[in-house]
Symmetry: C2
Subunit: 388 residues, 2 copies
């Protein structure tokens, strides 16, 4: 599948959650499959921290890699492009084509850097709404995302009940924990500490690659589980039979992390890392509400919430908190905890289990002309089906 | 209790695990209580990464703080100084009085910096053995430590069966996991990335405090559990009622970590951090053996192994692996998992539970003129007593 990233610029002033006004806003996006005549088969994919609009296919036949969720998007796949019109856009604040801190501010003709406003998950979703209007989609069949993508899915369901028939929330949380904030803050501090960062004003000079690589290394540890690290690396050495008794990179896990950190600096902007992690830290749907349940009062979408047993970044307990708040409002919610050793990354890797769940869930969403199903909940591991 | 740190210099060349020779070696140490006539009441405390010889009491009546484990050491306490002669020494490689990278190399009259040899937990224990000889103690009643201190306790039991009657291993592991190595490596990278580090040659200039603070912040996250962070900080803001929509330190957990990082730089040396974390990463008692159990063949000490339910740095599963290897050799082993929300730090905080366990365990060790007890194991949570 050869795809092309598209760009649309909205010459508006959007109101941000902070109260600031901001514009214009360009969004990079890709689409897969065809919008049907009724405009009723739209699925919006929501990417995680380091993702982008390029979710599936290749930009050219010679590309070595496909989009970040190619396993799940295409003819006959989880998000079947023979049936659905799948959209993915880079978030506002991003660095892969959408307006972000590395973009040129048209008012000053200089890059925004730290003059870019602090954005939130709500702001990301508001910008995506402009894209839906542009594409002529009044109501999406579903919104789906993992990690920060799941936060956007929750936000869509809570903020725009008239525009989403369902939401699929993977490996996510309705309010980011102190531990996650702590890890994000340390990652940000690594960037601040890099002399090349220069308070965000580095675009004409050397980039803060060492700080950004460190930040990514911290992140990567949280994406894997202890079990997956043990299986993948254990205590195995890299190109050595015996300890070297020096400070070289000698354990394979060290080498892997260094490689992940270095590779990341080639495709990601350090300032975007700051803005996006801050948006994650701010994500707490109960903020400004008397309770989390209160924040979901307007939700009409059917919800599929999936957690992964070894995910310690957004552990199953946080999905369960979200599910309780949804059920408190009588929202049609399906919850499944998938047993997996892959840690947080499982949401990208456990494609087969997700395909089953999604197939059944979307079938049920599309049949909502039928008599209303009772609110139901599948909780526990090893459930083969999410729907009753 | 007013105590004084003592120093002893061994003008020898010790053989390190790496094969290198190193000397002379100075050790800083403190003692609490009196050595009895039979020299049979000695207890060696083994400190963790950032610890030192000052385990209990104060150096002067005006000190605001007591030693790092004052709650457990003193008359009538867990390690009762009315009965026991308690010794604690700063490890070789340390920065609190023992020879380490910040020490002056007498051969060059310059600080060692990175010319200091890479040391291991075995090297720490070998140096402590010199101290025991100096103090005239042929056989210790017990060796006890948590975290890296627990690694030293394991090493003592495995390497010197004739010199320890028992060992108490808290919140530790017999082989450090890939996840722990990963976290230590990221912390080291934070130090390497600090321009002030200058390949370890910074003692005449500004210190790499920003890198060291970052390293400490990463460490601190691993010492707490998700539950303890939630209870201690949650999503509470620092001196703000509402989100500031900026990059200030606004969540309390961020403020706490920053404070921990900054404070650490006032008392710790960045090079020592590198050497000690490397010693931790190298700790794998099965290294050079066909199996972990094989490494314990010579052990004669009674063993008390304690893990803490919410410790994710050295989780209970790793203590159980150690216990299985000990039991495989028929070693008298008691294992208790203490249910605690304090995470890795629980080994310092759950003093009351430890006092009970230790009291019973040491009573049994001292009665070993009695008929031999069968090997026994207490596994599981909420056990009130470790001995049958």
């Amino acid at each position: 599948m050869i795809v092309k990233t598209q760009y649309v610029t909205f010459d508006v002033e959007v109101s941000l959650q902070s109260g600031a006004k901001f514009g214009p806003v360009t969004l990079a996006y890709e689409t897969y499959g065809q919008l049907n005549e009724a405009h009723s088969n739209g699925i919006l994919l929501l990417h995680a921290l380091s993702g982008d609009a390029h979710a599936a296919g290749k930009h050219s036949p010679t590309d070595s890699k496909s989009g970040w969720w190619d396993e799940a998007i295409g003819p006959g796949k989880t998000f079947d492009t023979d049936k659905y019109f799948v959209i993915c856009s880079n978030v506002i604040g991003g660095c892969q084509g959408s307006t972000g801190p590395a973009s040129i501010n048209p008012h000053t003709e200089r890059r925004y850097g730290l003059t870019f406003p602090v954005i939130t998950v709500a702001d990301m979703v508001n910008a995506q709404r402009l894209l839906l209007d542009h594409l002529g989609i009044e109501k999406l069949l579903t919104v789906v995302g993992g990690s920060m993508g799941g936060m956007q899915a929750i936000q869509w369901a809570a903020a725009f009940p008239n525009r989403v028939r369902s939401a699929i929330v993977l490996a996510s949380t309705a309010r980011v924990s102190a531990q996650s904030i702590a890890l994000n803050e340390v990652a940000r501090q690594a960037i601040y500490a890099d002399p090349n960062w220069n308070k965000g004003d580095y675009y004409d000079n050397d980039r803060p690659n060492s700080g950004l690589a460190l930040a990514r290394m911290i992140g990567h540890i949280t994406y894997l589980s202890e079990a997956s690290m043990r299986a993948k690396f254990g205590r195995r050495l890299q190109q050595r039979e015996h300890y070297g008794y020096d400070f070289a990179t000698e354990f394979r896990v060290e080498n892997y992390l260094k490689h992940q950190g270095d590779t990341f600096t080639k495709r990601f902007d350090a300032n975007t890392f700051l803005y996006i992690t801050k948006a994650i830290d701010y994500f707490d749907l109960s903020y400004g509400h008397p309770s989390l349940a209160h924040a979901f009062e307007a939700v009409t979408a059917k919800m599929l919430v999936v957690s992964y047993s070894s995910d310690w970044l957004y552990p199953p307990a946080e999905s369960k908190e979200l599910v309780r708040a949804l059920l408190h409002n009588g929202i049609d919610t399906t919850y499944v905890e998938i047993k997996s050793d892959y840690g947080h990354d499982a949401f990208l890797l456990e494609v087969d289990r997700l395909a089953e769940l999604t197939h059944d869930f979307l079938a049920r969403v599309q049949h909502d002309g039928q008599p209303h199903h009772p609110t139901h909940l599948v909780m526990g591991r090893h459930k083969e089906k999410a729907t009753s």
